[in-house]
Symmetry: C2
Subunit: 328 residues, 2 copies
Amino acid sequence: MERHTRRQSVWALTLLLAIPLQALAAEPLPSWNDGPVKQSIIDFVTRATTEGHPGYIPSEERIATFDNDGTLWQEQPVVQGAFLLEQVKARVREDASLAKRQPFKAVLEGDVALLSSMDEPQLMELFAATHGGKTQDEFAQEARAFFQSARHPKLGVPYTQLAYAPMLELLQYLRANGFQTWISSGGGTDFMRVVSEDTYGIPPQQVIGSDLKEKFDEGHGHPVLRREARVDHINDKAGKPVGIEQHIGRRPVFAAGNVRSGGDIQMLQYTKEQPRPGFALLIHHDDAGREFAYEEKNDASLKAAREGGWTVVSMRQDWKRVFPQEGR
Amino acid sequence: MERHTRRQSVWALTLLLAIPLQALAAEPLPSWNDGPVKQSIIDFVTRATTEGHPGYIPSEERIATFDNDGTLWQEQPVVQGAFLLEQVKARVREDASLAKRQPFKAVLEGDVALLSSMDEPQLMELFAATHGGKTQDEFAQEARAFFQSARHPKLGVPYTQLAYAPMLELLQYLRANGFQTWISSGGGTDFMRVVSEDTYGIPPQQVIGSDLKEKFDEGHGHPVLRREARVDHINDKAGKPVGIEQHIGRRPVFAAGNVRSGGDIQMLQYTKEQPRPGFALLIHHDDAGREFAYEEKNDASLKAAREGGWTVVSMRQDWKRVFPQEGR
């Protein structure tokens, strides 16, 4: 089963491996334009790894957490929304009467755009309705099949090819400097785990997301875990620092999020505001030409960034390329 | 703060380091007596690491989970029970009226033995009552102070010195063979995290335990996490596979637990009964001379071990020494 995902995402690994390590050491972050943003990242990492420097961080405390949707890969549409739409259609093919029942009806009448406009709690409720009772293995198989067949509606490529090249380099650069890289996202933990290792080099045990409750089922001597139709944890907004504490037990020293829903504000505050100043990176999607341009209703994330001294990334100005396939 | 624990537990690291790696490679598990139990562990690890063998396990799937109380260290009394007794006494010194209120009254009238006889859910309820509202940092400081000052009532040494030498060697042996070692215990996650790295070489992010709910508190620009007086997850019995899935997202291939409360049965079944047969280790405390001898009320763990083909450790027969300070 693992092999399918691996074959599919082999391009991503190839791209990562295509950058020789020496080249990265000589010139880190090649897909980032030179400027204050790139420089502030390099300065932080240099201080963190220089013994004797006041900004030195012992290796066991080098924890970096990344939001996923809109931070590591594109979120127009939210990938899990597209998956959910496929799942609902499949359920309706099995049982036509479902098309008249909520939440199936609303999803079928809308489209992936409607799903993308839903916030994470609403999405999780839909997941509970469509996935309750399935085993974890069954769910993972369905998610893998989706990543195999689905294509981005506008860009026409598999979703795993729409990770951001500059962020893949940043993950690699941090790891090369002794940081442990984690995902902390509002998306479903087990949905992301299916692709996190091949797409980002982040193993399943370093993925923190939203969860349904699960139940141990003895299964007549072949025990399995079943998903329940109840939300256990929403890893969004104030839930992000909580998820991080539960899974890691250490405060991150580096965190990255993006402008759209305000979902990363608390994680970035929690990372930045501590006795040892951490590094908070906020990505602003202002690149309608190469990706998408969108703002946040109340501008809360950019306001918090100004007040907290976070580093704001302009995709248009700070990124030399957005997606790996643009070439270098 | 980290430094205190480190100094206190320096003996443990010294002991681990005192065993040269070459010697371990030549003769692994020196504190285990030769016999079928030791041999079955070595055979499993040899198969798991031999490419081309049907029992070969890719390194990313080499996940090993260990119960803590009674499996990695002694549990007479349960260490967290002794901590809780100290906490209750401290609270009563601050406010004498508490001595008449439950659950404080029951704890004060009993002693550490009463706490040891409580099951994990009862202990977690007491923790909720005594620790609600505290920040995670305040809790960690109190736990560290306890490990500094407390001594085992019978053996007279700090609790961290009562980890089992054969199990420290087993952790080290598995890690040397590419296994990732995790704790999955009914005890409090954040209580164990204070000592897991120095005592077992297991970092906080690889500790799974029972949790209170936590809440993000903006703290006027200095955000903290506060413990709530509500249990979030009880990592015992059927809760263990659930905790493992939430934190790791992979089924372990090796798990260890012990006879006392039946709390490890489901974790061991979940590990042993899978397409690829995993390894299940169950420790039987039958050594009144060097440690303690006790059974389980209904004998469920030993019965499950016989039915499931688990490897049962007799501490008396299979361990050359129990605690590191017995010498080698």
